[in-house]
């Protein structure tokens, strides 16, 4: 346990350092291009979801975002998911990945993932593939390998339906599987949970789009059993209102 805490501390330091160095680089690299260089060092920050969810109980704030720094074929990639209820952080997950293009539409990504919340926290190694599948499905899938033989698999897919050039409906789905029970966190082996969302955004600019939508999640198998034991619901339908932005 002690060793693990040490690891965690180091992990946090690494994260802080990488964020610091990214911001340093950011200030250093503009203007991005001089004398016709084809492949400047660029950064992108995408806040895919920053939203308030309306549920039966307390309404959580959710942040789901990504940021990268890099060049055409190689990037450092950060992915973050945070959920807050009544200013308490219920969930906080951060991934720091090296992303390497392996095909015209696909990036291979590997690195580390840290779940800071809920307690106890978990650390994982990440092997993932992100890209655009035929028929314009945006896919992000990753295998996670944690301590004590824990494994997890996450599949995410998203599609964009244009009602107009600016009014865009985004169906998306996320499915999580786990290799074994993690009872402390209420996670069961096998298919654990499915989350599906439908968000309608209006792009005031490409970079700035408020949205409304619904979000539904349901737990399955052992995870559902653990939830029932705790007296919690196994599925939840939420209204959401939020903002999508990038720069």
């Amino acid at each position: 346990m002690k060793i693990f805490k040490k690891q965690l501390l180091m992990f946090k330091r690494v994260f802080l350092l990488s964020i610091l160095s990214i911001s340093l680089l950011l200030s250093y690299v503009s203007p991005v291009l001089a004398d016709g260089k084809d492949d400047p060092l660029l950064t992108k920050v995408l806040i895919d979801q920053f939203e308030k969810r309306n549920t039966d109980g307390s309404d959580p704030w959710v942040l789901d975002g990504q940021a990268w720094i890099g060049k055409d074929l190689q990037k450092l990639w950060i992915k973050a998911e945070v959920e807050k209820v009544n200013s308490e952080t219920e969930e906080a997950e951060l991934q720091a990945l090296y992303s390497h293009a392996i095909a015209p539409y696909w990036d291979l990504q590997f690195g580390l993932r840290q779940d800071f919340q809920p307690n106890p926290s978990r650390s994982w190694a990440v092997f993932g593939i992100q890209g655009l599948a035929p028929y314009f499905f945006e896919v992000d899938t990753a295998l996670f390998i944690g301590e004590s033989g824990r494994t997890a698999l996450r599949l995410e897919a998203e599609y964009e339906l244009l009602f107009t050039q600016r009014l865009i409906l985004t169906p998306e789905i996320e499915v999580n599987f786990y290799g074994k029970n993690d009872k402390a966190l209420g996670i069961g082996s096998g298919l654990s949970d499915v989350e599906a969302g439908l968000r309608l955004r209006y792009e005031i600019r490409r970079e700035f789009a408020p949205y409304i939508g619904v979000n539904w999640n349901k737990s399955f198998g052992n995870t559902a059993d653990f939830a029932r034991d705790e007296g919690q619901d196994t599925d939840d339908l939420q209204w959401v209102i939020g903002l999508r932005a990038w720069f």
Binding site: D35, L42, L162
Partner: protein, 605 residues
């Protein structure tokens, strides 16, 4: 043609714009003169002679209602028109008043390699505060242009026209002449545009397919056919509406530096023959030009005289020039109309006998969409009507789309085989092959059966004769006025594939970008054929410095000489090059955001 005979272009601007007598000394006063004011509807001034002082500097401009800083020459956007005489030696002292390196390239001029103005190949560029003296003999005549070859300075205003009067009497007779310089202006920094394209390549495309379009297609054609038609695009993850990377969403299109709202003005008297020297000085925009009510007789392409050909409409790629004659026989005004290839904007001006008289501005044509032919899946039997006839596509769809993603590259090298080359003037007869460097994340498409771009007017211009009664110029219509100067057969053929990845916004040749590429070696004196195959869905205007690109339009005795050649999407085209200029030359796509990657050094030794 005496300069003073054409008051509208020359004398008038001389008198109003420039302190008397300064013309032959150039404009040493650059920043104090502000000729770039967009309220000036007559276009830039002209400098004539053989000694010029050109000052590159920052210049406040306002084209859209927002104050912006342009890069200008002698305070002018476009830069002043330079008028030279064939046979003279010109000296151009170019001072760089910018905070960054700059340069000027004399586009289409045949000159010594060290005078070509390409930083890194011809010279080191012009450092801030420094002056570089260009000096060379002018051995050609016609319409050309000059622009910066550093960074994105061309996008921010550093481009101007060159007119070279012939030593011998001009075979083209005319009473009056105007330069018509087309360009694209954005209030955004070009660096920001480039970064946006890398982060979201369809950023500027507001013509994506919507649910409404899908519903309409299903209603019109049924589910099966709609599915089939879209299958290729869905498989390839590309958009058929992806015509221009940067569009009218950010661009204001200019004619002689004047916005379409204001409108450039060219005056004429009834019955005069007016020579219009069209130059596309855009960073990214290909234009389709017409003058409703007037036939145009094209008399020169890329500065070189051609056999006159009368048309109603022509496409002008970035960096190309066309000289046309018009003869307005009445006292009406006419609109010179240049719509962008993707129909997201236009620029226009007025040819008029009276400054107060204007003509109506036509509507833009329907925005084109890409078809199979434009994706390199042209079938010989298929009509050239990708934008109208989607019916034929469905039957080929499944098989061709599959092949493109499964296509194995051919590692056979043609250079090692003794091969019979196509006859000079008729283009390549070789079977197109894709080299192994074309495989990888940097290339998203390879044309399976690229068709010749010679007779194809191009996307958005096909069938205009049937549809609108407008004859459109094609490359096949262009014949040199004079006999081919080098009638030799090519001794070898160099096949280059224009490649890229749209969504990552990467550009390359044969899948290799300039930074990673070896120079193309030409032996001094040899006659070679270059065959360009466009493995992308964009049109690429390819520009070879230092030597003519002799376009093989099927007339070996009168091969036209060009400096910039559009290679249409999914198509191929061939030209001959006589390697008669020693040195290091640039060879690249002239779209400014493609150029850094889609670029080669050509070494002649």
């Amino acid at each position: 043609m005496n300069l003073l005979d054409s008051p509208s272009m020359s004398r008038r601007r001389f008198v109003t714009g420039i302190a008397a007598g300064s013309a032959f000394f150039g404009l040493g006063l650059g920043s104090t003169l502000s000729l770039a004011s967009p309220s000036n509807r007559l276009g830039p001034s002209m400098l004539k002679g053989n000694q010029f002082d050109l000052n590159i500097g920052y210049q406040p401009v306002n084209f859209t209602g927002k104050d912006r800083m342009a890069t200008a020459v002698n305070g002018s956007v476009p830069a002043p028109i330079l008028r030279w005489r064939e046979g003279e030696r010109v000296t151009l002292r170019v001072k760089n008043n910018l905070a960054v390196d700059s340069s000027i390239h004399w586009h289409g001029l045949i000159l010594p390699t060290e005078m070509d103005g390409v930083p890194g190949l011809s010279f080191d560029g012009i450092k801030p505060g420094k002056t570089f003296e260009y000096q060379f003999d002018v051995n050609q005549s016609g319409t050309y242009w000059y622009h910066s070859h550093s960074g994105f300075q061309e996008q921010t205003g550093l481009y101007g026209a060159i007119i070279i009067d012939p030593k011998e009497p001009d075979p083209v007779s005319y009473d009056r002449e105007y330069v018509v310089m087309l360009s694209d202006w954005s209030d955004e920094d070009p660096e920001a545009i480039y970064a946006k394209l890398k982060k979201l390549s369809h950023y500027y495309n507001f013509r994506e397919r919507t649910v409404g379009d899908l519903w309409q297609d299903i209603k019109d054609k049924g589910v099966t056919q709609t599915w089939n038609e879209r299958d290729m695009w869905n498989q390839m993850r590309m958009s058929e509406t992806d015509i221009s990377d940067v569009t009218g969403y950010t661009y204001t299109y200019l004619m002689n530096g004047v916005t379409p709202d204001e409108g450039w003005i060219g005056l004429f008297k009834r019955g005069e023959k007016v020579r219009l020297r069209f130059i596309n000085g855009s960073a990214m925009t290909i234009f389709d030009v017409r003058i409703p009510g007037l036939k145009m007789t094209v008399v020169a392409a890329d500065g070189q005289n051609i056999e006159p050909v009368t048309i109603d409409e022509f496409r002008i790629g970035v960096a190309e020039t066309y000289d046309v004659l018009v003869e307005p026989s009445d006292d009406s005004a006419y609109t010179v109309f240049a719509q962008s290839i993707d129909r997201t904007g236009f620029t226009c001006g007025t040819l008029t006998p009276d400054i107060g008289m204007t003509a109506s501005i036509p509507n833009m044509d329907i925005a084109p969409t890409l078809g199979h032919r434009d994706m390199g899946m042209g079938m010989a039997s298929m009509p050239e009507t990708s934008e109208t006839s989607a019916v034929d596509h469905s039957q080929h769809q499944m098989s061709t789309a599959k092949t493109i993603s499964d296509k194995k590259t051919d590692h056979k090298s043609h250079d090692s085989l003794p091969e019979v080359l196509g006859k000079a003037g008729f283009g390549s007869t070789r079977e197109i092959t894709h080299v192994s460097t074309e495989a990888g994340p940097q290339v998203d498409m390879r044309a399976i059966s690229p068709q010749s771009g010679l007779t194809d007017p191009g996307i958005g211009l096909r069938n205009h004769l049937q549809k609108y009664g407008r004859k459109v110029l094609t490359y096949a219509d262009i014949k040199n006025l004079y006999p081919t100067s080098d009638p030799r057969e090519p001794t070898r053929e160099i096949e280059l594939h224009l490649t890229g990845n749209m969504s990552r916004y990467m550009w390359s040749i044969n899948g290799v970008k300039f930074a990673d590429a070896d120079p193309i070696q030409l032996r001094y004196g040899e006659r070679v054929r270059i065959t360009l195959v466009n493995d992308t869905m964009m049109s690429h205007p390819m520009h070879l410095h230092g030597m003519w690109s002799e376009l093989e339009t099927g007339e070996p005795s009168h091969i036209p000489r060009k400096h910039t050649v559009i290679v249409q999407p999914g198509s191929k085209i061939s030209y001959l090059v006589t390697a008669d200029a020693r040195g290091q030359w640039a060879y690249h796509c002239h779209l400014i955001f493609h150029m850094a990657g889609m670029f080669r050094q050509v070494t002649v030794s």
